[in-house]
Assembly symmetry: C2
Homo-oligomer: 688 residues x 2
Amino acid sequence: DGSSVESLDYEVIENYAYREEQAQRGKVYFVYQVVVKWFFALLIGIGTGLAAVFINISVENFAGWKFHLTFKIIQESYLAGFVIYVLFNLALVLSSVYIVTHFAPAAAGSGIPEIKGYLNGVDIHGILFFRTLIGKIFGSIGSVGGGLALGKEGPLVHTGACIASLLGQGGSTKYHVSSRWLQVFKSDRDRRDLVTCGCAAGVAAAFRAPVGGVLFALEEVTSWWRSQLMWRVFFTSAIVAVVVRTAMGWCKSGKCGHFGAGGFIIWDISGGQEDYSFQELLPMAVIGVIGGLLGALFNQLTLYITHWRRNYLHKKGNRVKIIEACLISLLTSLISFGLPLLRKCTPCPETDAASGIECPRPPGMYGNYVKFYCGRENEYNDLATIFFNTQDDAIRNLFSAKTIHEYSAQSLLTFLVMFYTLAVITFGSAVPAGQFVPGIMIGSTYGRLVGMFVVNFYQKLNIEEGTYALLGAASFLGGSMRMTVSLCVIMVEITNNLKLLPLIMLVLLISKAVGDAFNEGLYEEQARLRGIPLLESRPKYRMRKMMAKEACGNRKVISLPRVVKVSDVASILRSNKHNGFPVIDHTRNGETLVIGLMLRSHLLVLLQSKVDFQHSPSPCEGSGIIRHNFNEFVKPATSRGLSIDDIYLSSDDLEMYIDLAPFLNPSPYVVPEDMSLTKVYNFSASWV
Amino acid sequence: DGSSVESLDYEVIENYAYREEQAQRGKVYFVYQVVVKWFFALLIGIGTGLAAVFINISVENFAGWKFHLTFKIIQESYLAGFVIYVLFNLALVLSSVYIVTHFAPAAAGSGIPEIKGYLNGVDIHGILFFRTLIGKIFGSIGSVGGGLALGKEGPLVHTGACIASLLGQGGSTKYHVSSRWLQVFKSDRDRRDLVTCGCAAGVAAAFRAPVGGVLFALEEVTSWWRSQLMWRVFFTSAIVAVVVRTAMGWCKSGKCGHFGAGGFIIWDISGGQEDYSFQELLPMAVIGVIGGLLGALFNQLTLYITHWRRNYLHKKGNRVKIIEACLISLLTSLISFGLPLLRKCTPCPETDAASGIECPRPPGMYGNYVKFYCGRENEYNDLATIFFNTQDDAIRNLFSAKTIHEYSAQSLLTFLVMFYTLAVITFGSAVPAGQFVPGIMIGSTYGRLVGMFVVNFYQKLNIEEGTYALLGAASFLGGSMRMTVSLCVIMVEITNNLKLLPLIMLVLLISKAVGDAFNEGLYEEQARLRGIPLLESRPKYRMRKMMAKEACGNRKVISLPRVVKVSDVASILRSNKHNGFPVIDHTRNGETLVIGLMLRSHLLVLLQSKVDFQHSPSPCEGSGIIRHNFNEFVKPATSRGLSIDDIYLSSDDLEMYIDLAPFLNPSPYVVPEDMSLTKVYNFSASWV
Ligand SMILES: Nc1ncnc2c1ncn2[C@@H]1O[C@H](COP(=O)(O)OP(=O)(O)OP(=O)(O)O)[C@@H](O)[C@H]1O
Ligand SMILES: Nc1ncnc2c1ncn2[C@@H]1O[C@H](COP(=O)(O)OP(=O)(O)OP(=O)(O)O)[C@@H](O)[C@H]1O
Ligand SMILES: [Mg+2]
Ligand SMILES: [Mg+2]
């Protein structure tokens, strides 16, 4: 369905109207432009920070109520507790899927592939609408609060991008403020810069990782990068960090309700392992390889399942989507409540009072050592500790360095298999869903498994299981998403332990290399499936021998003469959907010459305004007055612009002529026909 | 002196010989190429890591001996101690300046502007020679060990770049191994990628900041960046981190001599301030502004002084350079030994045994509270603690959070003024010199001053002076070098305290903004002075209205016909120094057509080999056999290639013809004459 996809124009169209405009405006306007851009970076930072805080507090509170209530009831009856638990989850998931299906279809999924597409120059309809923003925020509260195997980080990135785009166009397209202020953001490129800022802000807010946000925008999202933009993105991230920190400080005083303070995922293991010996590089390599394999498998399975969903299931309408989400919710509740029942409880270890970890933890509080279906007083259920908990808490428990031998290998393995399956099944259902947190869950489980094995094998107790869990998490994300530098920085920032940096780097390199042997990264695969053409990070071998000519096919080019009859323009515009037409002129001695490129949208503006129509078919050399200013040519922010069918042309109009010379773009980039594709590729990668 | 500067060719020249070559080589060659590139990334990492360890151990040992000896002697006589101190410093500096002037002139200075130039496409003669590498390593041991106001970080970046470049060409140009292996690195672009890796490795090794290294290469050095390269650079940095860490572990056992362990600058203040309140944002902004002002002033002063040196002083020959360096060394010794004598000693504070800081420290050891010219037992000299110490130790002391009220405002102010002056004077003398460490020294001094003021003003003791010192350091570097993201990450990595990240970000933003109001960054200014044309990070306002035509001037283009007489080629090549010639052909109906671009170097290869000469002046359509393979066209690594005067052409040869069609580059990027400069600029920024 390439029809819903349209390229953004990343070059500034330099027609005479534009040049006129630039020449009129002085230095003051230039300064003003810079100030407005920075002010918007500030606004994006604040907006995204607040959105993140809102989502977090909501999720934590819903999850808090849920577990509190369930724990209270299971003191009396496990069955009643189960029913409450299932209903609570179902209600939240239902609200989420309802919002998405009936209100904001573009809010489903993580949104990162789409944003990546947008920043690479592909505009997908509806991806940055106001309703998408609302759907994303409330939908992800429902889906994450409802305990599904998905995270809120991907949606936050999308949220940031929406906020940025909406700010840039002055609100929703329906009710937008067409303030003079916003005239600064009128080229696609300026809008793209804003969205880049928003995307970085989203990551910065989701993981409390400002540098990671900048790098994510850089590595994962943008093909082309100017250092000027980098600085602005950096500023936005810093603002987000300050906003989130302030809000967290405010929450510490208990004003945010239930689980308020535990919300933001910052798994502080700064007290964790600091030293490592050479022998440990082997288990780390093993973790890297496992991560690569499981990550690639995850990408492949989710690809199949999304493909199937798109082509069969979701074609049947919204009701199917809702039923599907509810079934997944039921299954998830059943597994997370039911499986721990099958495990025997473990007696509590001798607690170290200094560590501050209680065993079992008080019911309804977050922490380690969940007491669930245990007969005696001092017992806990290790499977419930990971399963019957919010995901953030589960990860904190898995990363925890202070709780050696908390989990049995059997429980970890059960959890790994079940959660992996759930994550694959959940992927692609019609709710907002991120893959970071599930990835971290999966990775840290097998990481901890390897860690347990190493601890038992080497008999060295200074190697901590929590550290291996962290490396496992990094390896799975590396094997699935294939980011390197940004992921590494994000992992370091969320764990707050710089000393593990070289280890994380090595594990990531291995897992990405292993994963690359099988398929592409998660986002690339998903983008391809959705028909979003992304430039690959490296031209394929085969491309080197192809020519641009071959790739374009040898179709006949539809061109326009310099002075063209209005009726011809109208019929050409009606007969095809091309967005650009070369304009051809004849020199005195009969040579034909391409004098520039005319965009469909600009032709439509000319047809609509009619002021440039003339009666004679000869060029209008003398009357060099341009009756349009540049603003009229500004494309609307979303891809649906004017259509030829919207324009009424009288039969008099149709008999008139237009001289296109003042309006065409005299210097589009020309790709010589026999340039090889590798070069065209490098070329386009640089200008999108 | 633009004559010593030549552009690198960053597009791969796609003539027929190249395409033939690509077509013959199969997938195996492609894989082989990738493997070789990664292997070289590994080698660069190991090489740069070892070089860094070597420089560090040497510097630490020389400085160790020096201070040990001096402290021993001043127990008897201060005068004798002074003489020894001066002579020791003089000997080291003399060795450094001698190496630079007589052996490796390109090793003077930091080398970062030149490397930056190289990676932006400007090849400066001698910058990546083997002798430059040697000169840089030993020269910086001398200059840093000799106590001058400069650092070893800039030179390490240059060292990394040299190692990378030499590896890529198989050793020095004189004795190079022309192995078949290295044929992979035969385009300028592959070489540039290697140097980028080397540059990142240098930063990673200098600061033990692997992520900082990647970002430095990204932000400061390269204009264009592919994510494939990013990954390789990341790998190199990780290798460096492992190598340095291993060497440090080995040194811990005492095998590295004197000061071994204290060498690498990692100012671990992870125990420092974690929390900050809103009121503190004001003093932080003040620090940012001071940093911007002092940094811009530093750039301006060093610009004047370098200008003067280049145009007057250093024109007079090597002897003047040597005398100059010796005088600076004498002055530095005099100030650092003499000034503390004028200060009164301070009684030691009640030491906290738990902190592990002794007062006064044992003589000849590194640490705080240097006892220097003090009468009583429990006294220390606060000026000597910063001045009469290695710079690494001085910075550690300034950053130290545990030593409140160690310094008096008077001492800090004296140090600031004197050291700033010394740093300005030293800049540009003929020794290898980095500006990072002096910048950190200056910045942390005024940072600590502001910190003292704040502590006294707000009367809050949980605000630590050491934190302000760190922010001061960041602000000065931001104000002078104008990096943002990479500098921020480097600061965080060296202080090992992630919690300060948002503060560092804000301070950097302010100081860069203030500095930008006055002049360009240190490296840009220096590059400009040296005639290295760098693309600015943002096209200037004025450029928007210029046309490429105007910028190039309306000179006549020298072109070649498709089939050209050898004598014509020779005379054209002799008559000018242009590197590219458009090749023109005539179609049957008399139109002229530019069919491609022929490089000077390729013409020279054709003239030298003579195999393609033909007797008839008609195109050789039939005999499509190309007698050259692509390797013959590979440019030598440095800019001096073949010259027309090296080629002997007999009078028979001169009468023959060459058909250029198979050798020309049929698709160079064409810049339409009326494309505005902004676009040309964006355009070139993306392909260099
Ligand atoms: N003037 C033209 N004459 C003939 N074919 C054209 C012309 N313009 C475009 N095409 C063909 O139509 C297809 C789509 O062109 P279109 O104008 O939609 O491109 P675009 O909108 O600039 O790019 P995108 O579709 O990525 O947004 C291309 O495959 C191209 O080969
Ligand atoms: N074929 C030509 N005919 C006329 N002028 C030329 C020709 N080629 C280059 N010039 C002029 O000579 C100057 C230097 O050209 P040169 O060939 O040295 O460029 P280059 O080597 O490709 O680039 P750089 O000097 O940056 O390495 C340019 O200012 C250009 O205007
Ligand atoms: Mg199209
Ligand atoms: Mg030149």
